[in-house]
Symmetry: C2
Subunit: 207 residues, 2 copies
């Protein structure tokens, strides 16, 4: 006769439990808009009590912010530092950008997709930081050597270019109106033109 008492719930390490809840939250927030996902949904999905979510993330908003952070975070490691001609470097950078996009795939689209009205300052900050990092990397690789001055303008240009990268990514991934090769061509050419022609003129005008 089995006197084994089966535990009603498993006790996990905080980091572990946090991660598990976060995984479920990422999926649900990726499928439905914020308001359509209740903390009960997340709790049920994770198989835990709803209160545990508040214990680990404070509030629903806290959980949401963590999801956003996790989704846009890019590991600073193994960032390639391509060498060679400008053309080669540009193509490498664009390749890296597209790779980052396809890696996240559908999830990525949900992240950068416009929810519409109502910009949450904190969300804004997280996304802005991710954009800034990507821009910084691009500048490091394909930027001209002499950016002691007007470096801020250059980064601003690259961030603006980043908007085109995202939009082109949507055309490729979700709308499928462009192939990856086409997107690669367009972004490479545009970036080359931006760095080689537009930025110099902008710099000269400002002098």
């Amino acid at each position: 006769m089995s006197t084994e008492t089966v535990p009603r719930w498993r006790r996990l390490e905080p980091d572990e439990r946090r991660e598990q809840i976060l995984t479920c939250a990422i999926r649900l927030f990726g499928e439905r808009p914020y308001a359509a996902v209740s903390t009960s949904d997340v709790a049920r999905e994770a198989g835990v009590a709803r209160g545990l979510i508040n214990h680990y993330f404070g509030s629903k908003r806290g959980l949401y912010l963590e999801v956003v952070r996790r989704m846009v975070m890019v590991s600073d490691h193994n960032l390639p530092r391509p060498e060679g001609s400008m053309r080669q470097k540009v193509e490498s950078v664009v390749d890296w950008l597209l790779e980052a996009i396809s890696a996240h795939g559908k999830t990525w689209v949900a992240v950068i997709g416009a929810e519409g009205v109502g910009d949450d300052p904190e969300v804004e900050r997280i996304l802005a930081e991710a954009d800034e990092r990507a821009a910084e990397y691009v500048v490091q690789v394909v930027g001209p050597g002499d950016i002691e001055s007007h470096g801020e303008e250059l980064r601003a240009l690259i961030r603006a270019f980043g908007g085109m990268v995202k939009a082109a990514g949507r055309e490729w991934i979700t709308k499928q109106t462009l192939t990856r090769e086409q997107v690669h061509l367009v972004l490479s050419r545009q970036l080359t033109h931006l760095i080689g022609d537009v930025f110099p003129q902008l710099r000269d005008d400002a002098s």
Copy 2:
């Protein structure tokens, strides 16, 4: 002795009341994220009972969608049809884009600002339609005459370019890292390059 009975509330025409509520909603949703705006807030702001919001817009989400629509809607009227050289036409189109942006100002930024994770299909649809209209207009003005074929690719390119327009707009309006003149220069040059050099090559490659 005044026997005048002052009415507790004014009775407005449905269109009028709808508009009034919508105005308040636009302001509030522009200031705070969706979840941080309660229908009670909107009702209080408009000086009406909360139930009236549901009467006119069905649900909070319905009100929100209406706000989004109103914010991204561009009147199809008085769209300029600039003539002249390609350079002039491009500059006119870019001017129009920037004008549309500055008209809405801060509000506009909130609209196209990424809320983060969780793409509402309906919101997505509204924004996509607005983008499509803008792209169509740009193609009509600065597109090459012979777009009987590859017109879809061209519109896709312009929509991608639209992403850069928005991002550049943010740099100008909110971050103030670029001036309007600088943004104008960048977008004009990039659009010219896109239409004149990139698209032809893309078309030839696909032939």
